[in-house]
């Protein structure tokens, strides 16, 4: 039993630090490209590490399901869902939006948030506790970075809409044997609609988490 507990800790430590380095690379490349070339080239520079680091987060659903971590799946699923949708379903699928300035704000918001988050969990798994300043960062920076990140996500989906409609990519038309159709354009509109109740919900959730985490650390 103790062996599995140790194994879990080793695995999670490695996982969190590896993904941390992925996001650190994304942030570094984004900032240096911005400085040297301009916002149109940011996506090209960060594409691979971004895709790797973001897609690795799928493992976290598995971690939650199996009970390796305590995070409720209802909170992680929408977050990971929207991230993967924007990374693959918008940015990778529609090159026309890759040069947009919102890509820079998106990538910077995401990478700072994830750097703090993964280092927080990485230190916690490694040392058994996290320093107070890191705890504070983890539960406070979202107050700025969630709005900037969500605005970038929504903005990029919106900017991509005309290209989605024109290309008819990922669309399935009738007639067919199963009387089914799928229109990626309308699906994108539906996703945008979900952001309306979804964003305040996620923000409120994090505010609640913040209250709990910071008051708990005060009492200890």
């Amino acid at each position: 039993m103790a062996f599995f507990s140790l194994l879990r800790r080793v695995y999670l430590t490695i996982y969190n630090w590896v993904v941390f380095f992925g996001w650190a690379q994304v942030l570094f490349l984004a900032l240096s490209t911005l400085k040297e070339s301009g916002h149109q080239h940011v996506y090209r520079a960060v594409e691979r590490p971004l895709q790797l680091a973001q897609t690795a987060a799928v493992l976290e659903i598995f971690h939650g399901l199996v009970g390796l971590v305590r995070s409720p799946i209802t909170a992680t699923l929408p977050q990971i869902g929207s991230r993967l949708y924007v990374t693959w379903g918008i940015l990778w699928s529609f090159p026309e939006v890759q040069t947009h300035v919102l890509v820079s704000s998106l990538v910077i918001s995401w990478s700072i948030t994830e750097i703090i988050r993964y280092s927080f969990f990485g230190v916690k798994e490694l040392l058994g506790f996290a320093p107070a300043w890191l705890l504070w960062l983890r539960y406070s920076t979202f107050m700025l970075l969630y709005p900037t990140g969500i605005t970038s996500e929504v903005g990029l989906i919106y900017v991509a809409l005309p290209y989605i409609k024109e290309s008819a990519k990922y669309c399935l038309r009738m007639p067919n044997k199963w009387n089914f159709s799928f229109d990626y354009f309308y699906a994108a509109l539906l996703v945008l609609a979900f952001y309306v109740p979804g964003s305040p919900h996620m923000y409120q959730y994090m505010l609640g988490q913040r209250k709990r985490a910071l008051s708990k650390s005060k009492r200890e």
């Binding site: 067919n176 044997k177 089914f180």
Partner: protein, 339 residues
């Protein structure tokens, strides 16, 4: 809605002869907006106790809840929020599908989706319209004339949630079945689908009649084990027949939308069936008389439908929730292995 502790010791002498209903009326008179259906009265829990609080039964007298001969009783009050009767809730849920589906059939809505020109209507689409509308008309009739509800009301927010569910899925399915580019299945498949579905709807109606007869007109009777017909095999035969009825509809109409709805509806009903099964096990001392299934399932459906009761009981240790799940979901068409 924070629970409020009401201490009624100042009118205790009167209260001790009164029933819980009288108490509810008194609270209602005091604060007009808290009509009895909105009140949840419980006995206070010891702090740190993990048990569920005891809800005051409206039929009992208040004296039954006073321990010993103390002259006063402390009751915890919770406001359940605005309530709506189940009849009204169900009516609005079912009215949506009943009215929305024919709109897609009769009116030229598809031109707004970019499909110009004439629409060729296949026979299966017409039969699907009749089947669908009959189904929801039946549900509305049952709501007003058949069902007897154990709880009179449901929170108002459920109206919006449930209507969103029924009306959205109704529109989603109606859009595809009545589509100008709809591809019908073979004639035989259509007949099998609708025929089977109708049989299940009739069976479902009979299940509702059996359930109704368990309760008296004023809703008394609480939770009892249903007997006879398919209830000899499954706890919630009404849900089983409802699910299979949708299977029939989907076999006949064959749309992904219809099957998605089937899966979601079946999941919801399975949840309800598990909860009901758990409730019935708590209420009765011997568990439901679910027999070893081999003898039952080797019978033909005809014999299973004859109402004969099976009188072999089992200890609740034998019956697990997962065994119910399989029975419920597969109905009487499975070969099921039990110990």
């Amino acid at each position: 809605m924070n629970p409020v502790l009401c201490n009624f010791d100042c009118i205790c002498l009167w209260i001790l002869q009164a029933t819980v209903v009288d108490l509810q009326e008194a609270i209602h008179r005091r604060t007009k907006k808290y009509y009895p259906a909105r009140q949840r009265l419980t006995l206070p829990l010891q702090p740190g106790s993990k048990e569920r609080p005891v809800v005051l039964n409206y039929k009992k007298s208040v004296k039954d809840y006073c321990d010993g001969n103390s002259g006063n009783l402390t009751v915890v009050f919770k406001d359940l929020g605005p309530q709506v009767s189940y009849r009204i809730l169900f009516f609005w849920e079912y009215l949506g599908p009943l009215l929305i589906y024919p709109i897609f059939y009769f009116f030229p809505v598809y031109q707004y989706f970019g499909y110009k020109g004439e629409r060729l209507i296949h026979p299966v689409q017409t039969y699907a319209l009749y089947y669908w509308c009959f189904h929801y008309f039946k549900r509305i009739m049952e709501t007003f004339f058949v069902h007897r509800f154990s709880h009179a009301t449901s929170p108002l927010s459920n109206v919006f949630r449930n209507c969103a569910y029924y009306w959205t899925f109704g529109s989603y399915i109606a859009y595809y079945v009545n589509h100008p580019l709809y591809t019908p299945v073979s004639d035989l498949q259509m007949k099998i689908g609708f025929g089977f579905g109708l049989v299940c709807q009739v069976a479902n109606f009979y299940c509702h009649i059996l359930l109704r007869n368990l309760r008296s007109p004023d809703g008394n009777g609480g939770y009892q084990i249903p007997h006879g017909f398919l209830f000899n095999i499954v706890t919630c035969a009404n849900y089983t027949t409802e699910i299979y009825q949708w299977v029939g509809f989907n076999i006949a109409t064959q749309t992904v939308a219809g099957y998605v709805f089937l899966v979601v509806a079946a999941a919801i009903m399975t949840n309800w069936a598990l909860a009901k099964h758990r409730r019935l096990r708590k209420v009765t001392c011997f568990s439901l008389f679910l027999n070893k299934l081999f003898p039952i399932l080797l019978h033909t459906l005809k014999e299973a439908c004859a109402s004969y009761t099976i009188n072999r009981g089992f200890n609740s240790g034998f019956l697990s929730d997962s065994s119910l799940y399989q029975i419920h979901f597969l109905g009487c068409f499975s070969i099921y292995v039990s110990s």
